[in-house]
């Protein structure tokens, strides 16, 4: 590697970035995120969704949890997506796509469901974050409960909004 000449524009470059460089760099970062994080996650999501679908588990969950999901104005099948996203968010998002195509989920359903999915956090991440933040066990347990409540609240809030507008 060559040494950068002192005082050359390149040596001072990191201080100030041009807009285009910045945007291009951001695009690369986004591509990296998509390629390295999102693309691989469909393998896990696809496996679980196919298992749930092919074993008929989705119908069972739909019947059992139907009344619960009814509170949010959602069909019972949406329970799979919601419960699944507490494990990993990709189940909720990717699993919704076939249900939308088959007409089980309408636009109204998606509008209510997406905030509920977005408010979830995977257990591993919760434990890691609580550990990094230096919280004790009691706070961790309470925070977990709060995350669950937050998802319910977000769903109820959007449900009310869809009813009004």
């Amino acid at each position: 590697m060559e040494k950068t000449v002192q005082g050359s524009p390149a040596a001072q470059a990191p201080k100030k970035k041009g807009f285009l460089d910045l945007f291009l760099g951001g695009g690369k970062k986004g591509l990296n995120m998509w390629f390295n994080n999102m693309m691989p996650s469909i393998v896990v999501g696809g496996l679980l969704i196919s298992l749930i679908n092919e074993t008929g588990l989705i119908d069972l969950i739909g019947v059992v949890l139907g009344p619960v999901m009814g509170i949010f104005g959602l069909p019972g099948e949406a329970a799979v997506l919601w419960v699944g996203s507490f494990m990993t968010m990709s189940i909720g998002i990717l699993g919704a796509l076939p249900l939308i195509e088959s007409g089980v989920l309408t636009m109204e359903h998606v509008t209510i469901l997406l905030p509920m999915i977005m408010a979830t956090t995977a257990p591993a991440k919760i434990i890691r974050m609580a550990g990094v933040a230096g919280a004790d066990g009691k706070t961790l347990k309470l925070s977990y409960l709060m995350m669950f409540l937050c998802s319910i609240l977000a769903g109820l809030m959007t449900r009310v909004i869809t009813l009004i507008f």
Partner: protein, 219 residues
């Protein structure tokens, strides 16, 4: 670290970028007439064409299933992810996030019972999970917040961390099926985070006497 960040100045451009980001990702101008639609993400993303009549836009086709279909779906969101991340990079670089933190600072004590220094934790939480957790720890270690306030901030940060990042990556796949702009999702989740943080505040303050950690000064 917190004292350094507190003193950092936010210029007009920072506020302008913050406003721009708000409009851009909220979808407020989705489908608006000509000059205004420049303020909406979907204007830049455009749409895929259909290959044959009746097929879904882009390379998806119709009636696909399983991993194959997921692969193509995931493929089609790449432009949106790249563009959104690039835009957020610009917002962050030009001080948009710092401006948001500054606007939030005076509201924090009455709204959540935490000092204004916590604003950056909450703004950072929109973009990243672990960094915001680390910031809570450093605020606690420097005695800027006490154990109760640490719990309040954690309750805010834990549900849906990196909300913006998740929305512009995973959420993008469901954007076409939303009744309103994506802003509705961000607003409802943020509001819910505020509410549960306050619930945590009530719980922790109620059981304050049993708290093993010494709660510093005021709450």
């Amino acid at each position: 670290m917190e004292t350094v960040e507190k003193k950092e100045k936010v210029g007009i451009s920072g506020y302008a970028w913050f406003l721009l980001a708000l409009l851009f990702f909220s979808g407020a101008f989705r489908g608006a007439p000509a000059p205004l639609n420049l303020l909406d993400l979907s204007t830049y993303l455009g749409s895929f064409g259909t290959i044959v009549e009746g097929a879904a836009p882009g390379i998806l086709g119709k009636g696909g299933s399983g991993l194959n279909n997921l692969f193509l779906t995931c493929f089609t969101i790449a432009p949106g992810v790249m563009f959104s991340v690039a835009f957020m990079e610009a917002v962050e670089y030009y001080g948009g996030l710092k401006a948001a933190g500054k606007l939030l600072t005076p509201l924090l004590r009455p709204l959540m019972g935490v000092p204004g220094e916590s604003a950056l934790v909450m703004i950072c939480n929109l973009q990243s999970s672990d960094t915001s957790a680390a910031m809570i720890k450093s605020l606690y270690d420097s005695k800027t917040i006490n154990a109760v306030q640490q719990g309040i901030l954690l309750a805010f940060c834990l549900p849906g961390p990196a909300l913006l990042g998740m929305m512009i990556s995973y959420g993008v796949m469901l954007y076409p099926y939303l009744l309103y702009g994506s802003g509705i999702v961000i607003v409802t989740v943020l509001l819910s985070k505020f509410i549960v943080a306050n619930l945590m505040r009530i719980i922790l303050m109620g059981g304050g006497k049993n708290n093993k950690k010494p709660a510093a000064q005021e709450v």
